[in-house]
Amino acid sequence: MKTLFERSVSGRHCTILPVCDVPECTPETRREKPLRLPELSETDISRHYTELAKQTFGVNDGFYPLGSCTMKYNPKVNEDAAAMEGFTEVHPTQKAAQGSLRLLKSAEQYLCEITGMDEMTFQPAAGAHGELTGLMLIKRYHEYNGHTERNKIIVPDSAHGTNPASSSMCGFTVINIPSSQDGCVDLDELRKAVGEDTAGLMLTNPNTLGIFDKNIKEITDIVHAAGGLCYYDGANLNAVMGIVRPGDMGFDCIHLNLHKSFSTPHGGGGPGSGPVGCKAFLSDYLPGERIVETDGKLAWCDRGEKSVGAVRGFHGNFLVVVKAFAYLLTLGRQGIPEVAKNAVLNANYLKHLLEKHYEVAKPGICMHEFVLTLENLKKETGVSAMDVAKALQDYGIHPPTMYFPLNVHEALMVEPTETESKETLDNAAEAFLDIYRTIKENPESLHDTPHKSPISRPDEVNAARHPKLRYHFDD
């Protein structure tokens, strides 16, 4: 399809723009030539974006089992709540906005109850931003306690890539420890890794293999005994929310992804929100201001000198919190644990259907997601995880997460989420099995899938080596 620049016709414009009411001035820094912007009518622009929308795939288009991303359905009632005038028209410095403050305070209380934390900030704008913020708390804590030598963060090899990246960004050295045979943290390796230079451990539980680490209490005890703190990456909270709490597992601070577990839009539909919660002994280090209630009135209050300072302007992505709060109220105390139970049930049901033909990386009951390994299938037939992922698109299914976690070769990581029906899962299983039949009968035909999508296989290598980042005019 054409870009806006290619659709542009000189002199064409929209008629609906009001007369400019900003006085003209001629600053010295004014550009010499006018900016070459595309010139289009409203009809052209509208059709362009509709065409773009048709080429995308989201949770409203079909099954989206992207592992570790929790691409659950985003209830439309959330949008209704976030569109309320009282929320959309409020200014972040408006002191009297008691409704908005109450919402933030209540959301904080509910999420603290779900996670076993004492206090939370909504400033971080996404998961990795939350990780960085959480690590800043850990760093600040050790500094205030005179332990600047604690500069190492331990990360298991099954971790999300953002964990070591956030640690490095925060100035820590990353210690990577291998998992044991069962896919959990190797306790001996952990004991060897901890020491007087340990700042903390970052862990996702259940981990990226979809396994709840049975030694979780021992893991956090080992780190605490060495003087380190424990950070919980909330990426996989969907599997356990309302059932067990990171705070009770021994974690000191956490981040959540409201755009995963709490049904706010994810990816292109964002923005995200990565609130960071912590135990009381860390709360003074949290960024931004805290909401304090005095005689029934809520107000923002400075956290004092220990705070790591603001990590984002004002109060984070407030309207995303509104959507997540709507979700919390919709589900309530009964609904939240049901989310986790159904997410786990759906994953196990689909795994059961698939493991008749596909090899599962770690057999046994899984949590909210499971990982297939196509390593042997690839050796036998030449069909890779990439080929299967691409072929799924022709069945109207978004590919699962591929080639992750790194400790599984030819990995396909499947997370159905709780919002999918049995029929959807049955259909997905049938698609997987149909692809399996093709692998056995005509493997070559899978190397150039998908056939039905707007584009087939983009030239990723060429795109990375020679990226075209701007439009080049002919003249």
């Binding site: 890539g161 080639y403 990723e460 290598v461 990375a464 080596r465």
Partner: protein, 127 residues
């Protein structure tokens, strides 16, 4: 998979070519480039960087992932292969020609594998 006899190898899939008693050049093995896939970016170390054996010295990026390159021996970086900045694909097409960096004042090179031992090591890695 090629493993030239005149080179030494590390468990983290770097090769070492000794230029003199005190100097060596380092690159990624054929096995490494095959596992990484098409390389699209190379982040070379800075001149005068101290290379500590088995610690990260620089990184390479393929379509699949960013991967650390470990120093297979200790030394000081005195030259980097800037040709790779514009042509990272050379590591794929000519892994034993596309050296990444050169070290002087080298040490800790004793336990590097010879070609046969490395080929056997890769055999076990693949399973």
């Amino acid at each position: 998979m090629k493993t030239p006899n005149e080179l030494k190898y590390s468990k983290t899939h770097e090769w070492v070519r000794f230029i003199s008693e005190t100097e060596a050049e380092v690159g990624l093995t054929d096995y490494a480039q095959d596992a990484l896939g098409d390389l699209v970016f190379v982040n070379l170390p800075e001149i005068d960087t101290t290379a500590a054996k088995e610690e990260t010295i620089c990184d390479v990026e393929s379509v699949k992932a960013v991967s650390d390159v470990y120093a297979p021996l200790s030394g000081t970086v005195y030259e980097v292969n800037e040709e790779l900045l514009d042509a990272p694909e050379l590591i794929n097409t000519d892994p034993y020609g596309a050296w990444l960096f050169r070290l002087n004042e080298i040490s800790d090179a004793d336990d590097l594998m010879d070609a046969d031992a490395y080929a056997a090591f890769c055999e076990t890695e693949a399973h």
